[in-house]
């Protein structure tokens, strides 16, 4: 079980309190009815699924209830950092190269 640091509660809590909520930094297009099928596919179905550093959303369901973002290495499952929703992707220390799709 993962230990996850909630940036709002500022506490490390067991994974059971949290819900994973998919890839982070995917903005729903504001003109959703106007975009092309390709753009919709990209937004709705395609995922980075990186082997290495991943940016993802979590929700502290059984705590403060809020969504936040995390950076986690999907090979070791170690968290690099967590940060509040709405903040940009943090700069990562060098050497965080991925076998696939590092934070584009």
């Amino acid at each position: 079980m993962l230990l996850i640091h909630c940036p709002y509660c500022n506490e490390e809590r067991p994974e059971l309190e949290f819900r994973h909520a998919g890839e982070a930094h995917i903005a729903r297009p504001t003109n959703i009815t106007a975009i092309s099928d390709e753009e919709f596919t990209q937004f709705f179905f395609l995922r980075d699924n990186p082997k290495g550093i991943a940016f993802e959303r979590w929700r502290h369901m059984h705590g403060c209830g809020r969504f936040f973002n995390a950076v986690r290495d999907t090979v070791t499952d170690k968290f690099v950092t967590t940060y509040e929703a709405g903040q940009p992707r943090p700069d990562l220390p060098a050497g965080g190269e991925n076998e696939k799709g590092a934070g584009k």
Partner: protein, 417 residues
């Protein structure tokens, strides 16, 4: 390839079993092949076999980063069934079901396919309605599936607790009698041996690190840890690593990779006659011929390539198993492990050509692709040989995530396997 038979066994018994040949060789990679398959799981090895046998293409390499059958093929709980909801799925999984029957003879290798019946339990009204809907849809498609009352379910599987005061009371079950299990390793080994006998090179301990393309964009071959290997056609069958491989050709996939775990108990005498699945409480159980209870758990909630999942996922499953089968509460568990499964948004596989000329993909089997191995390999070989899908896999495209023609077994079943 020396044929296995009772005479061969008798002859070797007289000679102290010193004359058995290797089942397949480990050749040096050639510079150029007609087809390269990435991933020596059941799907990749089977594809090579059917390419050689049915399409006359024998200049093939199957390239595997680890050892053959060491991926999900060697890690799964071996449940075989075909009672999926939609017509497209019925076509694909029934095709596999037909090939399971007779696969041991075809490969001259005992894959231990045992049609002992797969029983899916229902625990609430929603489950019952879902199961009945599946049964009716299956019947229309000529797929076996029948309804059992709790008493009939207990008769079919005596260790089952059908007390209505149980935490997850059994309200009935859907039974597919032709469903069952097979020996997972033997499926990989049998296809490997039969493919090698037809001239296929199986290259183990060799990771594909890049997919090379010509200026026109077409596939030219793959970069590997043992150098460049050329081929005009490359088929990717890399399960949990499909996103990683396809990214090498610049293709972003509708896939997410999750750990899925299983565990086995200490071996005991025959006690469990069939396969029982409960999607609602997320537990699957059967007994291997060695005597171990083979138990499947759920996926973790987060994407990962770690091949280890959380302990609470296993304990949750064991809670459910102990509730449904109180007889097993004192059993000791021997081993647990994880595999990385590639999950699509509609929980159906992708078995198709790709936007890159000469590149084909067989992925998205998620938590439930072992059962499809022979059928999937068979139609994937057709797709590669003809540069066009077989009618059976024609609906399982990448484009369906643009056109919206999903094969939504996700909504249909809430769970795969």
């Amino acid at each position: 390839m020396r044929k296995y038979s009772i005479f061969a066994v008798a002859r070797e018994a007289m000679r102290g079993h010193k004359g058995w040949p290797q089942q397949w060789t480990s050749p040096e990679p050639k510079k150029q092949y007609d087809v390269i398959i990435v991933g020596a799981g059941g799907h990749g090895l089977g594809t090579a076999y059917y390419l050689a046998k049915e399409h006359g293409i024998t200049n093939i390499a199957v390239i595997e980063k680890g050892w053959l059958g060491g991926g999900n093929t060697g890690r799964n709980t071996t449940i075989i069934r075909s009672n999926y909801l939609y017509d497209e799925s019925a076509g694909l999984y029934n095709h596999a079901m037909k090939l399971w029957d007779g696969l041991s003879q075809e490969l001259n290798y005992n894959v231990m396919y045992s049609a002992r019946g797969v029983m899916m339990l229902t625990h609430n009204v929603h489950d019952v309605q879902g199961a009945q809907r599946h049964i009716h849809a299956n019947r229309l498609n000529g797929v076996q599936n029948e309804w059992l009352t709790p008493e009939q379910a207990k008769e079919f599987c005596p260790p089952l607790n059908i007390s209505q005061t149980a935490r997850y009371p059994v309200m009935g079950a859907a039974l597919q009698r032709c469903g069952g299990v097979a020996r997972h390793d033997a499926v990989a080994w049998g296809y490997a041996r039969a493919a090698a006998a037809r001239g296929v090179d199986i290259i183990q301990n060799c990771a594909v690190t890049g997919i090379r393309r010509s200026p026109s964009g077409a596939v030219e071959g793959v970069d590997t840890t043992r150098g460049f290997i050329g081929a005009k056609k490359v088929g990717v069958a890399a399960a949990g690593h499909s996103s990683v491989l396809m990214e090498m050709a610049g293709i972003n996939m509708p896939l997410e990779s999750y750990p899925l775990q299983a565990l086995v108990s200490e071996p005991v005498k025959p006690i469990f006659p069939c396969v029982v699945m409960s999607n609602t409480v997320h537990a699957y159980i059967s007994q291997s011929d060695k005597g171990e209870l083979v138990i499947g758990a759920g996926t973790d909630q987060y994407t990962s390539y770690s091949q280890t999942g959380g302990l609470h996922i296993l304990t949750h499953t064991l809670d459910a198993i102990c509730e449904m089968f109180p007889i097993f509460t004192r059993m000791k568990m021997l081993r647990s492990w994880g595999g990385i499964v590639d999950v699509t948004p509609d929980r159906s596989p992708i078995l198709a050509k790709t936007p890159v000329s000469g590149l084909y993909v067989n992925c998205g089997w998620g938590t439930g692709g072992f059962k499809a191995t022979p059928g999937s390999a068979n139609v994937f070989a057709h797709t590669i040989a003809n540069d066009a899908p077989h009618p059976i896999n024609a609906p399982f495209t990448l484009e369906r995530f643009r056109t919206g023609r999903l094969i939504d077994e996700a909504a249909a079943a809430a769970v795969a396997h």
